[in-house]
């Protein structure tokens, strides 16, 4: 690979002086609400995305005003574990600097939207004061490490959480740029330079995602991750992990050499081998990932191009860890668990449905205020789930009734608005803030679900759990390709419909309709619901049924997704 072929982003990384760029100059320029174009790439490594309000983009151009720039800030929260005092800090920041909402992400993080440039530094500083940070929440590095929030298997869960935090720490960029720019940390002496022992000067070719999972719940969608650790438990103890590599969701419409891919299981390792294996996977991707084409730069293509066997051997060579045969495991579902659950030490946890992860006060559903009241009065821990929901954790038996009452008072209890389809739904943010969106997502999915619920009810399927996920573009933030009904935005009001994915995240869906509008989507699904109700086997899920009955192809590998 010659330097001439490197992507623009590679050049920006290489000249950014370990993620400094010209961000400080850009922050102090009063003539624009934006930062320099090149710095929009640098800022991602600090967890900050420049966006603009696309609803008024064209209006602003007519008004001879620049786009209404604002910033999305994403916090790094390994395993989605927050103390309630951290939550209260996040709540205050949302109210003072952002758009009065907190957006729970599909990776157990939170993000703010609508922070203007002049408030940016203050906001990042306040996030740090809340004992959180935003380092590496975006960018070509290891992103927020996921871990199951499910408290049912508590001692196992606590150990997995510890592993996730250790991995997150180990793969953090070491540059001091973040502290210099956002926290007024001392500047590095000009003669010295930061050293990135794992990443090197140009970090990774593309984003990198890692997660831990505890079967049978596949809530983190482990096969969608670049690197996954499937916890193997025996007699109440963690035996080790099956390691999965090469998952990833993103593709580009019309480019068949891009595709979503599910990870391959390399083999089994012991708990004390996690960091060595993870570091090897990251450095292989650092050295072999494609830096000439960002659409072909994820780990999944490195593995697809060179083969799983080569990759396993290279990991073993670099880490000194020899994989054992994978242990047996089975997944039941990739959704969340709702309502009250009790853990092994007797504490209660309430799985709260948060539609599309948007926590705010909307009419009579005042979730931001409700969670504030709960955090102030009763709970000590909130957990963000991989499906954009929230668990009110560690509630004492005596406080349960109070929390139930508060949930009702603020109009946010689960039964208030959620069918099984809705409880198994996810949507990415898309319009108006996401620069990649081609179609609506978060603002549209709820009304589509109303209509699908009506169709399901007509066919006696009102209580049937079916996963449905929507994204505004094919990059797949809400993991639509592993939902039984996946809708991927293509243009205003137009979606590619994917069907036939596995309920537990083990099989990709196949494209069923291209560029379809709502009428076409409903027109296609209603007869399929009818057939499903009539012909399904006992306990059979919708996606499995569609594949068995030949309505859609079985996708055995991501590279075949465009074959039909």
């Amino acid at each position: 690979m010659s330097d001439a072929n490197l992507t623009e982003v590679e050049v920006i990384k290489a000249t950014s002086r370990h993620l400094r760029g010209t961000l400080e100059d850009g922050l102090s320029d009063p003539l624009t609400g934006a930062v320099a174009d090149s710095d929009t790439h640098v800022s991602k490594f600090h967890g900050i995305y420049q966006q603009d309000n696309r609803d008024i983009r064209s209006e602003r151009k007519r008004q001879k005003l620049e786009p209404a720039y604002s910033f999305m800030i994403r916090a790094r929260i390994p395993g989605g574990l927050l103390t309630t005092s951290q939550w209260l800090g996040l709540d205050r920041i949302a109210t003072e600097h952002a758009n009065q909402t907190i957006r729970l992400t599909t990776r157990q993080a939170i993000q703010y939207h609508g922070v203007v440039k002049r408030d940016l530094k203050k906001t990042v500083a306040e996030i740090n004061q809340a004992a959180l940070d935003t380092i590496a929440a975006c960018g070509d590095v290891n992103r927020n490490v996921m871990a199951p929030p499910l408290p049912g298997l508590s001692s196992i869960h606590r150990e997995v959480q510890r592993q996730a935090e250790a991995l997150s720490e180990h793969l953090m960029p070491k540059s001091r740029a973040y502290h210099e720019i956002w926290l007024d940390g001392d500047k590095i002496e000009s003669s010295k330079t930061d050293v990135e022992p794992i990443y090197g000067d140009t970090y990774l070719p593309r984003k990198f995602k890692a997660a831990f999972v505890v079967p049978p719940q596949n809530d983190v969608d482990v096969f969608s991750q670049d690197l996954g650790f499937i916890t193997i438990v025996k007699d109440g103890l963690i035996l080790g992990f099956n390691v999965s590599v090469g998952g990833g969701m993103g593709m580009t419409h019309g480019e068949t050499d891009t595709y979503p891919r599910l990870g391959d299981v390399l083999g089994f390792i012991r708990p004390d081998e996690v960091l060595a294996v993870a570091e090897a996977v990251v450095t292989i991707q650092r050295d072999f990932g494609d830096r000439t084409n960002r659409k072909h730069a994820r780990l999944k293509y490195t593995i697809e191009d060179r083969g799983v066997d080569w990759f396993r051997a290279e990991v073993e060579r670099r880490s000194g860890v020899i994989f054992d045969e994978p242990e047996k495991y089975a997944f039941a579902a990739n959704g969340d668990t709702y309502g009250w659950q009790r853990d092994d030490v007797g504490a209660w946890h309430y799985g709260l449905f948060v539609e599309n992860g948007r926590v705010g006060d909307f009419d009579d559903r005042r979730m931001l205020s409700g969670l504030r009241a709960i955090a102030q009065q009763h709970s000590t821990e909130f957990r963000l789930t991989p499906n954009q929901n929230l668990i009110i954790g560690k509630v004492a038996e005596k406080d349960k009734a109070d929390i139930d009452a508060l949930l009702v008072e603020y109009g946010i209890e689960n039964s208030a608005h959620a069918s099984p389809l809705r409880l198994n739904s996810m949507a990415c943010v898309a319009f108006p803030t996401c620069g990649l969106a081609m179609a609506e997502s978060e603002r549209y999915l709820p009304t589509l679900i109303d209509k699908l619920d009506a169709a399901l009810k007509r066919h006696g399927l009102g209580e049937e759990p079916i996963t449905i996920r929507m994204t505004g573009c094919p990059n797949g933030c809400a993991r639509p390709y592993i939902a039984e009904i996946g809708l991927v935005g293509k243009g205003p009001g137009r979606y590619t419909l994917f069907l036939g994915a596995g309920f537990a995240g083990g099989r990709l869906g196949a494209p069923y309709l291209d560029n379809a509008n709502e009428e076409e989507v409903l027109g296609a699904l209603s007869p399929l619901f009818e057939r499903f109700a009539r012909e399904r086997l006992e306990g059979e899920h919708f996606g499995d049924f569609l594949v068995r009955s030949g309505v859609v192809r079985e996708i055995t590998a991501g590279r075949h997704i465009h074959d039909g």
Partner: protein
């Protein structure tokens, strides 16, 4: 010139001979001027007045001599730019002048100055143009688009055939250009996602045509010179009915203000103006205000009244003949006499002039009628009112950059007072009651006391709010002329997000190096208010250095507070940096005023 080529020009032998003898002995520069002069004659039936300086004619010729290929591109991804650069590279290698320009940076009105343009344009969503071509696309498809009979073009359309309206924007462009009289060099080429082969073929074809297109035509090039206008017949007593081309709100949706950018057509008027001049607008009062006034007075709008010996319906008189948004002392006296109101009478007799002054400033006719009710006959009421006078607005465009247009920047005056909605007369007439395509009566008001200096002299412009208007004209003019002088602008308003008037234009001027400095003050973005005068003080050292370097100072905008505050700040600058005491500094500013180095257009 070695003899004219026979058979090429439509002249007979005698005409050819007399033309040759007329130009015999002229220098090259004189010949160039003459060619422009003759072209101007051809281009216009209007009276031709030779310009004193040769500057303009030579500039026009230089422009025409730059005969080249312009490649305009617009696409959401980098694909369009890449193909455009490919074409430019290939053309340059073949020895032709070619430039690629993003449609975002191309002024649509300049299309008529081009002779050979190729377009690379994509289509998005349901047949929409790419963001960067949106305004160009809208302009071209609008009735504002000029005739393009001297343009030759070709369109390469990018698209995704999985969408219904494949390459629609390209097709729209292609058809519209033909409709405007441009000549299509080759049929539109559609490119799908895999555009490489089709695009390369198109580039090959264009490049192979260049020797014919640029080479041959160059030898016959007729330099175009804009004819110098005869003195216009339109003036105050005979205002020109100008068509509204654009009436665009330029404050953002969250703004507390409604500022309009208004473009009017001067085509066919013969009106000319210079940066610094104002445009007078014959306004009409808000119909709702007239209706409310009639209601308060219990008068019938159909009643005939006489104004300046002409009969009008009362409604019409109050709408277009008489002042009702401003009260005069005369009116107040008449009304006090009529109503016999003691409070009003005592205010008029009060020795405190400020009380009366404030009352006059803050009230409209209808407020007086509401506060001090009285019965009045229609004709008697009309007799109390002043004739409606034209309102003047600083022109915010350069005529050199926009030959047939004049632009205004108008803040619509609407406010709540005394429990009722209030409106300004002309500002709401322009903002609310004129749609694109309507006409408004206007004439030019010269302002020779607010003029750009010589082109190499630096200028400092201080124009908060709509005080920015003449400075838009100044900078546009200096950009158009390529003037060497540095330009420093101070602007202020309430909020950065919504009130940064002409933000995109200033950003572009800064990028191009035309605007040297821009300092802004947004008063309501932080707890303590910041104004332009604060920025002047913060930059005292640099500002003093500019003044020492001969810079001319300009202030435009609010006379009541801003102009004084800015003057105080300038005094502070001279005290701090120039070692003067306050009195001497104030005196120095007066001298600068006298020398024309400190010019103000405040109101």
């Amino acid at each position: 010139m070695s003899g004219l080529p026979a058979g090429v020009l439509p002249l007979d032998e005698e005409q050819t001979n007399s033309l040759q003898s007329a130009v015999a002995g002229l220098t090259a520069q004189q010949l160039q001027w003459a060619s422009g002069y003759v072209a101007g004659l051809a281009a216009s039936s209007k009276q031709i007045i030779p310009i004193g300086s040769n500057e303009r004619s030579i500039a026009a010729i230089a422009h025409a001599d730059e005969k080249n290929l312009t490649v305009l591109y617009g696409s959401q991804t980098g694909n369009g730019e890449q193909i455009a650069s490919q074409l430019v590279r290939r053309a340059s290698r073949a020895g032709f002048a070619a430039t690629a320009v993003s449609l975002a940076d191309f002024k649509p009105a300049n299309l008529k100055r081009e002779s050979l343009v190729t377009f690379v344009i994509s289509t998005h969503g349901e047949g929409d143009p790419p963001d960067d071509a949106e305004l160009f696309h809208e302009f071209l498809l609008s009735k504002k688009a000029p005739e393009l009979t001297s343009l030759e073009y070709s369109v390469l359309a990018l698209g995704d055939s999985s969408y219904v309206n494949f390459c629609q924007t390209g097709h729209e462009l292609d058809a519209r250009l033909a409709e405007l009289g441009a000549e299509r060099l080759s049929a539109l080429v559609e490119c799908d996602l895999d555009y490489d082969a089709d695009a390369t073929e198109w580039v090959d074809r264009i490049v192979s045509q260049l020797p014919h297109l640029l080479g041959v035509r160059e030898s016959l090039a007729i330099p175009a010179l804009r004819a110098v206008d005869a003195v216009s017949t339109f003036n105050k007593s005979n205002p020109f009915p100008a068509e509204v081309l654009i009436n665009q709100k330029i404050t953002g949706c969250d703004s507390s203000k409604d500022v309009r950018h208004i473009e009017l057509s001067l085509e066919g008027s013969g009106l000319s103006y210079e940066p610094g001049d104002s445009l007078a607008v014959i306004a009409r009062n808000p119909p709702q205000l007239v209706a409310e006034l009639l209601d308060e007075l219990a008068l019938d709008g159909e009643t005939l009244v006489s104004v300046r010996d002409q009969d009008f319906r009362l409604t019409d008189a109050l709408t277009s003949e008489l002042e009702i948004t401003v009260i005069t002392l005369g009116f107040l006296r008449d009304w006090a006499a009529l109503s016999g109101n003691a409070e009003l009478a005592s205010m008029l007799q009060a020795s405190e002039p400020t009380v009366l002054g404030l009352f006059l400033e803050n009230h409209q006719v209808i407020d007086v009628v509401r506060l001090y009710p009285a019965e009045v006959a229609a004709q008697a009421f009309v007799g109390m009112l002043r004739f409606l006078s034209p309102r003047s607005y600083s022109i915010s465009s350069s005529q050199d950059a926009n030959p047939d247009e004049v632009h205004l920047s108008v803040a619509a005056v609407r406010y709540e007072a005394l429990g009722h909605e209030h409106w300004g007369s002309a500002s709401t007439y322009l903002a609310d009651r004129l749609e694109e395509g309507d006409t408004v009566s206007v004439y030019v008001e010269r302002n020779s006391r607010f003029r750009l200096p010589d082109e190499d002299v630096p200028i400092i412009m201080i124009g908060p709010g709509t005080g920015i208007a003449p400075f838009r004209a100044f900078v546009e003019q200096r950009a158009e002329k390529g003037s060497a002088g540095d330009n420093w602008l101070f602007f202020g308003d309430r909020n950065f997000d919504s009130d940064f008037l002409y933000q995109l234009e200033w950003q572009r001027y800064l990028k191009r190096g035309i605007l040297t400095r821009l300092d802004v003050a947004f008063s309501r973005d932080q707890r303590q208010k910041i104004y332009v005068q604060d920025r002047i003080r913060e930059n005292s050292k640099e500002l003093f250095r500019w003044l020492e370097g001969g810079a001319v100072l300009y202030v435009c905008g609010d006379a009541r507070r801003m102009a004084g505050d800015v003057n105080d700040a300038l005094i502070d600058v001279l005290v701090k940096e120039g070692g003067l005491d306050t009195e001497a500094a104030a005196e120095r500013l007066k001298v600068l005023r006298g020398e024309g180095r400190y010019q103000r257009d405040v109101y």
